[in-house]
C-alpha cells in the first residue's frame, strides 16, 4: 500500500465508525475539493452509495459555478441533499473582525441545521495542515450543547478508539481527512478522476486555491489549468493554502475564536 492507499483506508475506517456509532449522521458538502474527496471516500466505504444526507450550509454568497456543480452532482451521485440558510451578518458577534464575522454566519447556519435534524454526527472535511488550530483537532471531536469546541479539554484519542456522545445535546464532529495534506487531496483527485468546480483551474493567469464566500476569498496568480499542473505547482509553492482567505489573517486569534465558537 502506498501513502494514498493508507490515507484512503484510514478515512474509510473513520467513515464506517461514524456511520455505525452516530445517528442521525450527515456530511458537510461545501462543494470544495476536500468535501468532494470526502463524498468520494464515502462512496468507497459504502460501495457506491452515501447512506446518509449531505448538507450544504449556504451563505448565499458562493460562486455561481458552485451552485451549478452542486445541482449536477447531487443528481449524478444520487445524494440526499439538505440545504440550510445562514442568518444576516447583522446578527453576528460585532466584536469579530469583518471577514471573520462573515464566516461566522456559516457557524450559525450550521448550528441551526444540527438542531433542526437533531444530528449526533457531522462529518467535516478539515485537514491539520490547513491551519494551526486545526492541527490540534481530534478525529472525533465532541461539541457540547452550545456547539463550542472545548480546546483545553479534549478527550484522549488513541489506538483508533474514538469519543462517543455521552449525553443529550452533545454532537460529534467527525474529521476523516484530518491526516491528508493539500497535495494528497490533489494527487487523490488525479488518481481517482474526481470532478471539481473549474474555479480551481487557471483562467487569465489566476485560479482559486481555496474556495469560500465570494467577497472574502481571493484568487492566486497561477497558470495551473489541470490537476497535474496544480500538483506540480504545489510541490514548489511556499505560500499557505488559506492565504487567500481573509478571515484567517485579520488578527492573531481570529481563526481560533471562530473555531471555538463552532466554526469548522
Amino acid at each position: 500500500m502506498d501513502d494514498l492507499d493508507q490515507l484512503e483506508a484510514q478515512s474509510i475506517y473513520i467513515l464506517r465508525e461514524a456511520y455505525r456509532k452516530l445517528k442521525p449522521l450527515a456530511m458537510l458538502w461545501s462543494l470544495g475539493k476536500d468535501s468532494n474527496v470526502m463524498v468520494w471516500l464515502a462512496r468507497k466505504a459504502f460501495l457506491g452509495r452515501v447512506p446518509f444526507p449531505v448538507m450544504h450550509v449556504d451563505t448565499g454568497k458562493k460562486f455561481p459555478e458552485m451552485y451549478r456543480f452542486r445541482d449536477e452532482y447531487t443528481r449524478k451521485w444520487e445524494l440526499e441533499l439538505l440545504l440550510g440558510d445562514c442568518p444576516p451578518v447583522e446578527e453576528i458577534d460585532p466584536t469579530l473582525p469583518p471577514a471573520a464575522r462573515s464566516a461566522a454566519r456559516k457557524t450559525a447556519g450550521l448550528a441551526t441545521m444540527i438542531e433542526k435534524y437533531k444530528l449526533e454526527g457531522v462529518i467535516a472535511g478539515i485537514r491539520r495542515d490547513e491551519q494551526a488550530t486545526r492541527a490540534k483537532e481530534r478525529v472525533f471531536s465532541p461539541r457540547g450543547s452550545s456547539h463550542k469546541w472545548d480546546v483545553r479539554n479534549q478527550p484522549p484519542e488513541f489506538w483508533d478508539q474514538y469519543a462517543t456522545p455521552h449525553e443529550e445535546g452533545v454532537h460529534i464532529r467527525v474529521h476523516p481527512l484530518l491526516s491528508w495534506r493539500e497535495i494528497d487531496i490533489w494527487r487523490y483527485i488525479e488518481r481517482e478522476g474526481i470532478p471539481l468546480v473549474d474555479l480551481y483551474f487557471s483562467k487569465n493567469g489566476k485560479r482559486y486555491r481555496s474556495l469560500g464566500d465570494q467577497d472574502i476569498t481571493s484568487p492566486i496568480e497561477s497558470d495551473a489549468s489541470t490537476v497535474a499542473e496544480v500538483i506540480t505547482e504545489l510541490q514548489t509553492t511556499r505560500t499557505s493554502e488559506r492565504a487567500g482567505r481573509a478571515m484567517d489573517h485579520e488578527s492573531e486569534d481570529a481563526f481560533e475564536r471562530l473555531r471555538v465558537a463552532g466554526y469548522l
Binding site: M1, D2, D3, L4, D5, Q6, L7, A9, Q10, I12, Y13, R16, Y19, R20, W40, R43, K44, A45, F46, L47, G48, R49, R128, D129, A132, T133, A135, K136, R138, V151, R152, Q154, P155, P156, E157, F158, W159, D160, Q161, A163, T164, P165, H166, E167, S179, R181, R187, E190, R191, E192, A228, I231, T232, R238, T239, S240, A243, E252, D253, E256
Partner: protein, 625 residues
C-alpha cells in the same frame, strides 16, 4: 506526470516528548525552520507574536497555536505537522510535557514509529522524562532517539555531557528501552539539529535530521496470521457485506474463516469494492468489505481468523495499564474494554503491581494513582479473543471506557491470568433441549435469586426456609451458599478483593448452569461489592434478580450466629465485611427484604412468593397438569 508523484510511501510519524521546558517546541521550530519546511510568512508571524509579548524569537509559537498556549508559554494539546526530509515524508508530533495534559501526550504519541526524547542535559531526567519514557514503552514505541538538549549550558563539554547521558541511559535501561542514539544538541542555537555543530568537533554521530532519515519504515504486517475484526455488517441491495479493516495478515477469496467466539466457520465468497479494480486478495491496513458463504451474520467485534491460527481466548486477562482518570483506580471497578471494534464488560479483579515513578520500581498497592502505571487483572463475564500486545502491530490494544463513555485508560493486554481457563481449547456445545421446552415440562422457568447482605443478616436461613416452601409448590429449587462454596468449589480462594471477585464469578457461573437446566437457584452470598454483583448479573444474564437481605449491623452483630463478629472485633479475622471491609448497599435491588423485624417464616414467605411469581408459568401455557 511522473509515477513517483502518485506513488509514495506513507508518512512516518515521529513524536517529540520530554519534560516541560526541556525544549520540545523550540526543537520543532528549529527543525522546521532549518530544513525549509515552513510556509512563507510563518516566520514573520512568529516574530510578530513574540514581539507583542516582549520575547525574542519564540519558536514554540509555531506549534503553540492556541492563544492560551502562547500567553502561558505551555503546550496544552498535541500538534501534528507534516515534514519533508529529502523525499521522505514525516509527521512531527509535538506532545505536551505537563502532567495534567498526559491524555493529550498519548493522543499524539500512540501511533508514532519513533520518538525523540528531549532531555535538558544540564537538568537531567525529571518526573515527566520518566513518565514519558514509561509511556513510550507501554504504547510500544521501540525506536527512541535521545536528544541531550541545551548542551551550550554545559559549555559543549564532552565529559559533562557524557555523565548526563549515562544517567539517562541507566533510567531507560530499567524500562527495557535501548535508545538508538544520544545526540548532544542545542535546539535554540541549532547545534546538531539540521547541521553539524562547530562547537562539538568531538561528536562524530549523526545530527538529528540524519538520525530521522535512519528511522526504519513500519514493518509489513501482511505475512502474520490474519486478524479481521468485524466493524459493521451492511445489507445493500440484496447482498450482505461484512466490513472491517484487516489488522494483520491477508484475506483471499475462498479462505475459510472462523467467526468470533462461536466457532462458526464460513468461506470468503468475494471482496466487494467500488471504483477499484476487482480484488481476490487484500492485506493488512486495507478497509475491506467481504461476502461470506454460507451467508452467516457476524456481529460487530467478532474477530475473523483462520481455524489453525486462533488467538488467545480467556475470561481473565493480565494487562498493563496507563491510567488517565483524575481519581485513583481501585479493585472491583467495572469498565467496558474496547479492543479493536469489540467491547466487553470487565471488572478489575486485582491490582498486581503499581510503578513508583521516582525510581520506576514496582510495588504492591490497593490503588492506581491518577496518571499512574500498573499491572492489573481484568475479569470478564465471557471469553475474550485477543493477541498479546506487540509493538509494531495493533495486537492487544485494550482501552478502558467508563459508563459515561469516557476513555479512562490504556490497557496493553499481556496474556491470560493465572486462574484462567485460558488457552485450553473449549468448545461449548449448545443443548438441543431449549429453555422453553424445559420450562413447559416443569411448569416454571429457571432463575437466579442473588441474596446479598451483611454477615448475620439471615441470607442462608431465609434461603433454606424459602427453599422448602418452593419445593412444596413443586418448584425445582436449590441453594448455593457462601460457606458451601468455599468448602469445595472455591476452597483455593481467600478473602482478598481479587479472590472475592473470583468467588462471586464462580458462584454466578454455577448458578447460571443450574438455571439453564431449568432450576431456581437461591444464592446466599455476602457479595459486598456492587461491582461484583454487577459482574454476577453479567455472568447470569437473563433471569437474574438481586435480593437485598437487609438488617442493620447492630442487629447482625447481636445475632452473630457463627461467632464471626466477635472474632473480627477481637482482631482474629481481618477483612470482615461490616467491621473492616466495606459493604456497598444495593442501590435498587429487585426485592428488598428487611429482616430486622418479623419472623423468619414471614420473610421466607415473602421471598417464596416473589420467586414463584417470577418463575411460574401462567395456567394454559403449561404442558404438565
Amino acid at each position: 506526470m511522473s509515477n513517483d508523484i502518485l506513488r509514495q510511501d506513507a508518512a512516518t510519524p515521529i513524536v517529540i516528548v520530554g519534560h516541560v521546558d526541556h525544549g520540545k517546541s523550540t526543537l520543532i521550530g528549529r527543525l522546521l525552520h532549518d530544513t525549509d519546511n515552513l510556509p512563507e510568512g510563518r516566520v514573520a508571524q512568529i516574530i510578530e507574536s513574540s514581539r507583542k509579548r516582549g520575547l525574542k524569537v519564540e519558536w514554540s509559537f509555531l506549534l503553540d497555536s492556541l492563544q492560551i498556549e502562547r500567553d502561558q508559554g505551555v503546550t496544552v494539546d498535541s500538534t501534528r505537522i507534516p515534514f519533508l526530509l529529502g523525499n521522505r515524508q514525516f509527521v512531527i508530533v509535538d506532545a505536551p510535557g505537563h502532567r495534567q495534559f498526559l491524555r493529550n501526550m498519548i493522543t499524539g504519541a500512540a501511533d508514532a514509529e519513533a520518538a525523540v526524547l528531549v532531555v535538558d542535559a544540564a537538568e537531567g531526567a525529571q518526573e515527566q522524562t520518566r513518565r514519558h519514557a514509561m509511556l513510550l514503552r507501554l504504547i510500544g514505541i521501540r525506536h527512541v532517539i535521545v536528544l541531550m538538549n541545551k548542551v551550550d549550558l554545559l559549555d559543549y563539554d564532552e565529559q559533562k555531557i557524557a555523565a548526563s547521558e549515562q544517567a539517562v541511559a541507566a533510567l531507560l535501561k530499567q524500562l527495557d528501552i535501548e535508545p538508538s542514539l544520544f545526540i548532544p544538541a542545542s535546539a535554540r542555537e541549532g547545534d546538531n539539529i539540521a547541521s553539524r555543530s562547530p562547537q562539538m568537533a568531538w561528536y562524530k554521530g549523526p545530527t538529528l535530521t540524519e538520525a530521522l532519515a535512519l528511522v526504519p519504515s513500519p514493518a509489513g504486517r501482511a505475512d502474520l496470521p490474519l486478524r479481521l475484526p468485524v466493524q459493521d455488517v451492511y445489507r445493500f441491495d440484496s447482498k450482505r457485506v461484512v466490513a472491517g479493516r484487516i489488522e494483520r495478515g491477508r484475506v483471499t477469496v475462498g479462505d475459510t474463516l472462523v467467526i468470533g467466539t462461536h466457532g462458526t466457520t464460513a468461506r470468503v465468497a468475494s471482496i466487494e469494492s467500488w471504483h477499484t479494480a476487482p480484488q481476490i486478495s487484500a492485506v493488512a491496513g486495507q478497509s475491506v468489505a467481504i461476502t461470506l458463504e454460507p451467508d452467516v451474520i457476524p456481529d460487530r467485534g467478532d474477530l475473523l481468523h483462520r481455524p489453525e491460527e486462533a488467538p488467545i481466548r480467556t475470561a481473565r486477562i493480565r494487562s498493563r495499564l496507563f491510567w488517565l482518570r483524575q481519581e485513583p483506580l481501585r479493585v472491583g471497578e467495572s469498565f467496558r474494554l474496547r479492543l479493536a471494534t469489540a467491547e466487553h464488560q470487565v471488572t478489575v479483579a486485582s491490582i498486581d503491581s503499581v510503578v513508583r515513578l521516582d525510581d520506576l520500581t514496582e510495588h504492591a498497592s490497593d490503588h492506581v494513582p491518577p496518571e499512574g502505571f500498573a499491572e492489573i487483572t481484568l475479569a470478564a463475564s465471557e471469553s475474550i479473543l485477543f493477541d498479546a500486545f506487540t509493538p509494531g502491530t495493533t495486537d492487544g490494544r485494550g482501552v478502558l471506557v467508563d459508563r459515561h463513555q469516557r476513555i479512562v485508560g490504556g490497557a496493553p493486554l499481556i496474556g491470560p491470568a493465572d486462574i484462567a481457563s485460558g488457552t485450553k481449547a473449549i468448545h461449548p456445545t449448545d443443548s438441543t433441549v431449549s429453555l422453553w421446552d424445559r420450562a413447559q415440562a416443569r411448569g416454571h422457568r429457571g432463575g437466579v435469586f442473588w441474596m446479598t447482605g451483611l454477615p448475620g443478616a439471615g441470607k442462608s436461613t431465609i434461603a433454606r426456609a424459602a427453599e422448602s416452601r418452593l419445593f412444596g409448590q413443586k418448584i425445582d429449587v436449590s441453594v448455593l451458599d457462601g460457606d458451601t462454596l468455599r468448602a469445595g468449589l472455591c476452597a483455593d480462594l481467600g478473602f482478598s478483593e481479587a479472590d472475592r471477585t473470583e468467588n462471586v464469578r464462580r458462584a454466578a457461573a454455577v448458578a447460571r448452569i443450574l438455571a439453564e437446566t431449568g432450576q431456581v437457584v437461591l444464592v446466599a452470598l455476602i457479595s459486598p461489592r456492587a461491582a461484583d454483583r454487577e459482574l454476577a448479573r453479567q455472568v447470569v444474564g437473563e433471569g437474574f434478580h438481586e435480593i437485598f437481605v437487609d438488617a442493620d449491623q447492630a442487629t447482625c452483630e447481636a445475632r452473630d450466629p457463627k461467632g464471626l463478629y466477635q472474632a473480627a472485633r477481637a482482631g482474629r479475622i481481618t477483612g470482615f465485611t461490616g467491621i473492616d471491609a466495606p459493604y456497598d448497599t444495593p442501590a435498587s435491588p429487585d426485592l428488598h427484604l428487611p429482616t430486622g423485624t418479623g419472623s423468619v417464616g414471614e420473610v421466607a414467605d415473602r421471598l417464596a412468593a416473589y420467586v414463584a411469581d417470577s418463575v411460574v408459568l401462567a395456567e394454559g401455557t403449561r404442558r404438565r397438569s
